[in-house]
């Protein structure tokens, strides 16, 4: 039987992070993953992450995956792919299917980082080809370069539903509607706003009644639900679609731990049935640790930190480091973790209706129901100011753990402070140089440069643009407002594709000055691609 100091199950963000930290302390580490590629979901994540610099904010997910893998390799971590862990037994014996055989391994410690699986909602016709999970859509688009369909309806307005809908638009699909049975959008308002301004309609308090088609999906009917989740007769709406995508939450894949005999609990805040564990991720079985979604569904940034904590804890468990070192290292990480769990999207706020920000600003109900602000609402947030000349307008209205904009500005115009969930504030004593670094740095694409003095009667708006084909200087087309309606003609007067922006290209459009605070997207007159 092959022995290792540490066996890690799952090469996703938390598993790799655990392996890295353990290897740093000198442990011999092996990581098994049933997939052909490491990284878990990271390599499907083409969007920029939220968080702070330490959490790899504003870096795209797949790049974080490469970084982790490189670090693991450098530290001598063995990553074995196409290796399905079939069982976790007494004394940390692990059986692994590799090729056509079952192999036995033994670890002195084990970290289970198996992640979570997608939930589904059943409705008439849900087993038809064309009904897919958001994860499948991401796999098709971002790993295999295949469009899941042409016309898609998305069910689920959490961050996964919002982010995947945006990616569907990017690959050229039409997203006909974003539907959620809840009365408000579950994910970040800024993610919703990115969709709304391209014209994607939101149907809150709606659910799917049936998928239509005989051999595959040809359409879908949705309807409005009442407070008891029953369909209100007469509210049915039909859409012609070839794909229905579901993003209705995740459930931890904790079967391996249950099988091993770990104490388990049913914890709705953590997404379901999870192992009971302490602050270091140690379960009721000594030396068996958990990290990432398997111990409670969150997102990749916190999974990576949990992984690091578990990795360090295994080193202490096996005597590679002492208690003092564990406490010291874990403290920094725990602080980082708790900063990610602040704000209105914190786990304890799940399902709660929050009406005001920590600063006392009203949360826009219009945003929560439609995906965008009204023109009046937007003006009251501290990132939105009226100034002569070019200046940043930050349409950020929710306390989310994210602060790259603050560091991005070389002129220090943007202040968030130490608490990373605070709303960004524009310091009116400073002068914006119009460099656009903040526009590209905002993972929520909520920052615009506005210049109401661009030309007599005209304003310029610089907006983040992640679609292809990229418009060229001199192109004309429509300016769309936050709700995706065409409001005026616009001319592209600048396109900035600096490598510094990491493919969030900056488009500067010229619009009549009264549209300066209304126009937020550009749709080329001749180009038919989404956006």
């Amino acid at each position: 039987m092959k022995r290792y100091d540490l066996i890690v199950v799952g090469a996703g963000p938390s598993g790799l992070s655990a392996a890295i930290e353990a290897a740093k302390s000198g442990l011999r580490v092996v990581v098994f993953d049933e997939n052909a590629n490491p990284g878990g979901q990271l390599f499907k994540q083409v969007h920029k992450f939220f968080g702070s610099k330490e959490h790899k904010a504003k870096i795209r997910g797949f790049r974080i995956g490469s970084e982790l893998l490189e670090e693991a390799n450098r530290l001598g971590v063995e990553v074995i792919l196409n290796a399905t862990v079939a069982g976790l037994f007494q004394d940390k014996e692990v059986t692994v299917r590799i090729n056509d055989a079952i192999n036995h391994y033994k670890g002195d410690a084990v970290v289970v980082a198996t992640g979570a699986a997608e939930n589904i909602v059943p409705f008439v016709g849900w087993t038809l080809p064309g009904v897919i999970g958001a994860g499948a859509a991401q796999t098709m688009m971002n790993l295999h370069g295949i469009m899941p369909g042409k016309k898609v309806l998305m069910l689920g307005s959490g961050n996964v539903g919002l982010v995947v809908s945006y990616q569907l638009l990017q690959v050229g699909c039409e997203v006909v509607a974003l539907v959620d049975a809840a009365p408000k959008i579950g994910g970040y308002g800024v993610h919703a706003a990115k969709l709304a301004r391209t014209g994607v309609p939101f149907y809150l308090s709606h659910t799917i009644i049936k998928a239509e088609g005989t051999n595959h999906v040809t359409g879908v009917t949705i309807g409005q639900v009442d407070r008891k989740w029953n369909i209100i007769p007469g509210t049915e709406k039909h859409f012609d679609v070839d794909t229905i995508c579901m993003a209705v939450g995740l459930s931890p894949m904790a079967q391996l731990l249950k099988m091993a005999g770990c104490a388990m609990e049913n914890n709705p805040q953590k997404g379901g049935y999870v192992p009971v564990c302490d602050a270091y991720g140690e379960t009721s079985i000594e030396g068996v640790f958990v990290a990432g979604d398997v111990s409670g569904v969150e997102e990749a940034s916190s999974a990576m930190i949990e992984g690091r904590i578990a990795g360090i804890a295994t080193a202490e468990y096996l005597g590679f480091i002492d208690k003092a070192e564990l406490t010291e290292k874990a403290e920094t990480l725990e602080n980082a973790l708790s900063s990610l769990r602040q704000g209105m999207f914190a786990p304890e706020n799940k399902g709660k209706l929050i009406e005001k920000t920590e600063e006392g600003y009203d949360i826009s109900t219009h945003l929560l129901q439609n995906g965008f602000f009204t023109d009046q609402e937007v003006e009251k947030y501290p990132g939105v100011t009226k100034q002569p000349g070019v200046h940043a307008v930050i349409e950020c209205s929710q306390n989310i753990p994210c602060n790259p904009c603050q560091d991005a500005c070389p002129k220090h115009c943007i202040k968030i402070g130490d608490k990373i969930t605070s709303l960004p504030v524009i310091d009116e004593q400073t002068t914006c140089s119009g460099c656009g670094l903040c526009v590209a740095a905002c993972s929520g694409q909520a920052i615009f440069l506005v210049n109401e003095d661009y030309q007599e009667g005209y304003a310029s708006i610089t907006l983040p643009y992640e679609f292809l084909p990229l418009p060229a200087k001199g192109d004309t087309g429509w300016a769309l407002n936050r709700g995706g309606e065409k409001v005026c003609m616009a001319e592209v007067v600048g396109v900035n594709t600096s490598p510094l922006f990491d493919r969030t290209n900056l488009l500067t459009i010229k619009v009549p000055v009264d549209m300066a605070m209304k126009a937020r997207f550009f749709k080329g007159g001749s180009c038919h691609a989404q956006g």
Partner: protein, 111 residues
């Protein structure tokens, strides 16, 4: 919880519903109606349901339907889904062909 262990507990008669023919466990092709009927046949725990109907015993090993089956059984019993203990977990955690499962590789290794 009492309803799960108390078999004499009356849960009412089986009332057919419109969506009874909807598939819940895709791998084993078990419908919502079959699951509801099984509860009325006396299968009050998820392990019993699994043995009786084979829900969650197919290719995906209940990854997709597990939560749905739990919800349906709980509703039929009139209890919270959280009160139902999940079915046993045992090796192999993923579907593995018998010829592979039986092919135990000889230990190679480190002392």
């Amino acid at each position: 919880m009492h309803k799960v262990s108390d078999r004499s507990c009356y849960i009412g008669v089986f009332v057919p519903a419109q969506d009874d023919d909807m598939l819940i466990c895709r791998c084993e092709e078990i419908t919502k109606g079959e699951i509801r009927r099984a509860v009325h046949d006396g299968m009050f725990t998820l392990t019993e349901i699994r043995r009786y109907l084979r829900t969650g015993m197919g290719l995906c090993q209940g990854q997709t339907c597990g939560k749905l089956v739990t919800g349906i059984v709980a509703r039929e019993l009139g209890i919270s889904p959280a009160a139902l203990e999940p079915a046993f977990s045992r090796a192999p955690m993923r579907p593995i062909e018998m010829k592979v499962f039986g092919n135990e590789k000889e230990a190679e290794g480190h002392a």
